[in-house]
Symmetry: C2
Subunit: 597 residues, 2 copies
């Protein structure tokens, strides 16, 4: 939108908003905001002025193309120029179509009502006055109630001109998942006006929207430290707020085994940090349903054959567990890998997979597969004996062969346990190197999650060989980077800290020119050596919101243009109960355009 239309918008706002906003508080405020040349400028309040006294939010809703929406809509957006008072006690949601997703639709509607209440600052009881809000939900495929990579997440939102006492909104979607996103957008069009103590809705709105990438994720590692169920749900709530759709649960690792295995309970008994730091079936079911209502799939990972250890004490199935010096056998303490030569191992794996299949109704399964150490396997006489018996060497190629032997068997057990040939995901590793990835991994069976740097030639190599990728390049999407080391002095391995700007600018499409369709999306990862329930929100948010807009829209511009919306979504996350990190002085939000070099 050029300067001319900004000006036009400005004058429309001046004329029309004034009509509905005449009940001024007698205590004159110090400041008001006015949209000038596409920037909301802070101006001294003048009681004699004919201009409307907009607060910062009311101004910003109309001063840029995308108002306060995050992520920015992709197909069409017209936010009009009107705000109407609404009464949060008078919200009605009408589900126009009926089907198997009815329960989800109802739950999403209830959540929507609660979302609106959260925009009101704590301690404030706004005057409940204004028009009622009628929301019509038109779900074209009301029987779709499961996430998949093909699910249609698009929606159309229309908010009409208001009648005397009612504002009507209509959301049309091809599935529940699209409708749900529409409700999210609608909730972002409702703002609290702290100058007049009113709740306002943007009207005369038209939004046509849908994501660029089908996979938009956050990984949480609940093994290096434990995360409470409450903190996981809080994370999913925030994901929904920015239309992320995949909670990748790295649930076990060498350090702990908090997943409650019904079939192999000793893994949990010996592997959990304490009897209370576990994820029971009931807790997982609760999380899965909570996520589904919010359009989020919960994708389980059982990382193997490396990244195991605690919990396996009463089996004979691991190698090099707690070996020292750890740096000779793995990348961090404690070391530990499964012993792929034991037949019993595959029975245990199948049991774990079955336990997971029963509680995670997932359309995909993550098998981990990162950071396998030859030195670890090589430290076992039994492994070496197995290799020798087959006439294999003890070189890298032979250990890749052993890994392949493992992966082939694990894959078969996964299919068996899940009862279907579902897409499997593996991390990039020595197994996925360009010259031999296709020797070991069938591109139709495996999706590769990339955690190399974003400029690694491996990405183009795998794309050229036809693999589908999920991008998690550590140099932009590892949210644990930059803090202190935990095994010595200095900073951790992937320092420095990655700012939201870098996350925002990290474009999967630009890594995949010519192969865009093979990029399923991307994912930010919180490895939790230095994070737990207390240190979760600030690590993930608002940076994951930056990722969310990148994946929803693949926007062309820089970070400067979106900064005001970013500051707003950060504050919104805080209002939703998420302790999102602070990224700028509030002064920069109130004084748009001044906080740049």
């Amino acid at each position: 939108m050029g300067t001319k239309s900004y000006f036009l918008n400005f004058f429309i706002v001046c004329i029309l908003v004034q009509c509905v906003l005449t009940d001024a508080n007698d205590d004159n405020p110090a400041w008001r905001w006015s949209c000038i040349n596409g920037r909301c400028m802070k101006m001294e309040f003048d009681p004699n002025s004919k201009e409307p006294y907009l607060n910062a939010e009311s101004c910003k809703m109309f001063c840029g193309t995308f108002g306060l929406l995050w992520p920015q809509p992709t197909s069409g957006v017209d936010l009009g120029s009107h705000l109407s008072k609404i009464n949060l006690d008078k919200i009605n949601i009408i589900n126009e179509a009926s089907g198997k997703s009815d329960e989800l639709m109802t739950a999403a509607g209830e959540r929507f009502k609660k979302l609106l209440l959260k925009i009101i600052p704590e301690g404030v009881t706004p005057k409940m006055r204004g028009k009622s809000l009628m929301v019509y939900l038109v779900n074209k495929n009301p029987d779709v109630k499961e996430m998949s990579l093909d699910v249609d997440e698009t929606y159309q939102l229309r908010i009409g001109a208001s009648s005397d006492d009612q504002v009507n909104a209509t959301i049309i979607g091809r599935t529940f998942f699209g409708i749900r996103h529409g409700l999210e957008t609608l909730s972002q069009l409702v703002i609290y006006d702290d100058i007049r103590d009113l709740v306002l809705i943007t009207r005369d709105v038209s939004v046509d929207d849908g994501p660029v990438y089908p996979y938009r994720g956050i990984l949480l590692d609940t093994a290096r430290n434990y995360f409470t169920v409450e903190s996981i749900k809080r994370t999913i709530e925030a994901m929904a707020a920015v239309k992320l759709n995949t909670f990748h649960w790295h649930i076990t690792d060498s350090q702990s085994f908090p997943f409650v295995s019904q079939r192999r309970p000793s893994l949990t008994k010996y592997g959990a940090y304490s009897p209370s730091k576990v994820y029971t079936r009931e807790a997982i079911a609760d999380i899965v349903q909570f996520a589904l209502v919010r359009g989020v799939r919960v994708l389980p990972e059982f990382d193997a054959p490396a990244h195991v250890g605690e919990g396996w004490q009463h089996t004979d199935l691991t190698v090099c567990f707690k070996a020292e010096p750890w740096s000779s056998y793995c990348v961090e303490p404690p070391c530990g890998q499964l012993d792929p030569t034991k037949d019993e191992l595959y029975d245990v794996l199948e049991d774990i997979y079955r336990d997971m299949a029963e509680v995670f109704p997932t359309d995909m399964f993550h098998m981990g597969g990162d950071e396998v150490s030859e030195a670890c396997w090589n430290s076992s006489a039994e492994v070496r004996g197995f290799m020798a018996a087959r006439g294999w060497g003890l070189d890298k190629a032979s250990y890749l062969r052993l890994w392949d032997y493992f992966q082939e068997r694990a894959q078969a057990r996964a299919y068996k346990a899940f009862g279907k040939k579902l897409p499997l995901i593996l991390w990039t590793s020595s197994l996925t190197e360009f010259d031999h990835i296709d020797k070991y991994l069938n591109k139709d069976d495996y999706i590769i999650q990339v955690w190399t740097s974003g400029s690694s030639p491996e990405i183009k190599g795998m794309l050229n060989k036809g693999y589908k990728l999920i991008i998690s390049n550590y140099d932009a999407l590892y949210l644990d980077c930059g803090f202190s080391s935990w095994v010595g002095l200095g900073n951790n391995w992937c320092s420095p800290y990655i700012g939201w700007q870098k996350v925002y600018l990290n474009s999967p499409a630009s890594m995949a020119v010519g192969h865009e369709k093979q990029i399923l999306g991307a994912e930010a990862a919180l490895w939790s050596e230095q994070a737990d329930s207390s240190a979760l929100d600030g690590r993930v948010w608002p940076r994951a919101a930056a990722l969310a807009e990148r994946l929803w829209a693949e926007p062309g511009g820089g970070f400067e243009q979106v900064e005001q919306r970013m500051l707003h979504i950060r504050d919104r996350l805080v209002a939703l109960g998420v302790q999102a990190d602070s990224i700028e002085p509030e002064w920069c939000y109130q004084n748009e355009g001044y906080c740049h070099r």
Copy 2:
């Protein structure tokens, strides 16, 4: 303590703890901990073993010299080898001496009881059984109720052998402030045993303790972003937990003026981010009293002549406010400095100082004085005219003269407003450079707060000239370092992030060899361009706890020896309701000694 005495301790614990810990839960736990060679080792639980099944905390309480105490006591510590069950419903505190500090003593006692309840994990209702605890407080100077640099913070704590139904503890201190620290130590000797669901107290204890430095602070900047009163009190609560004693309140800056000035209310009206983002007299009085009960002074700073701007709109007393490009006139947006040439300015300053003197019953006053820009002053024709009229040039030396002109007048007004010649504090700046500091600042009037790097020769220079210093070297004590830039791409100016280890190893004494007595202490600073109430706890904690032990004890060893206690105090802060950052996998706490290179 050598290996031999560790072993001895271990056996004593084995023999004696067992006696009181015989009521085992039938559900056998997976793990127990045992002190071997000075490390608490995780061992498989064996129901047939005669060894006591200690949880990690019970083991760690006796396995090192300082148990789980943080900061480590300085004069003498013997934690014995016994744990006794106590009943938190049966705690009695007897104040043996009466005086003006009675109210503080009572409040500190009540807080102590609440502290003990906080160690019990949420959702757990421990069996309230065990002995009663009788705490005798012997205050040698019960009339002392004000903080000062000379106040005696030492204490002695004795916990006796228990009788059948009672444990007796005695705390002897020379002031309330010492007694209070003794209560803090006593609270750290009470642990919750999650294996048996019991509250245990360490007995047969003797601790003689007192701080190395009298000034042990945290700075919070509430101007770049606003912090809620609740979040400030939470910070002070955590400070008390680690015996920090100064909350330095950088309450205003160029970006906002949240301090409610009674005499100049328009500063607040135009300067606050919103009418609710202010600190009223009542709120400040609440914070000051809350802090005093916790042994913490609240030290106000009014930073001048730079670092002003918002709020001063309706005066004619600032120069270069919001000037652009800001980088020509100041270090971050918005620029702004007071105009020292206006006589009216000093009346306004006196009013602000008076407002502060009325709400902050402080023994010191911080006058700021950092980052004054010649270019800013030089941008004003009026300032240049003032200089010309006096025959001064427009060079650096002349602007220092102008600054001196300002500081001399401001100092006089401060003394007048506070009604006494109290110690004044200034930041290092171009005014404090070695070759001329004594020309401008009298060493008997001013304490200098150092924010250069820790290796700057300026430190030794000022010490040689006799100045008293507070150390806040940015390369170890600026807690805002390492995050993303907020005015562009990349990371912020003082990156990288500073780990707790570096904070811990940052020794004021080693900067001051030969002048140790001139170092009053040190202070960690949270400048809040990228922090607010939501992002506060994780930035400050547990790193400020590392500072606390450094200042309390000036320990000689490395960080590795204190790591287990550090992990424990971090968890304790979380239990106290502080969202302290996570620094290691829980695995490292459960598997002592394995998380090092």
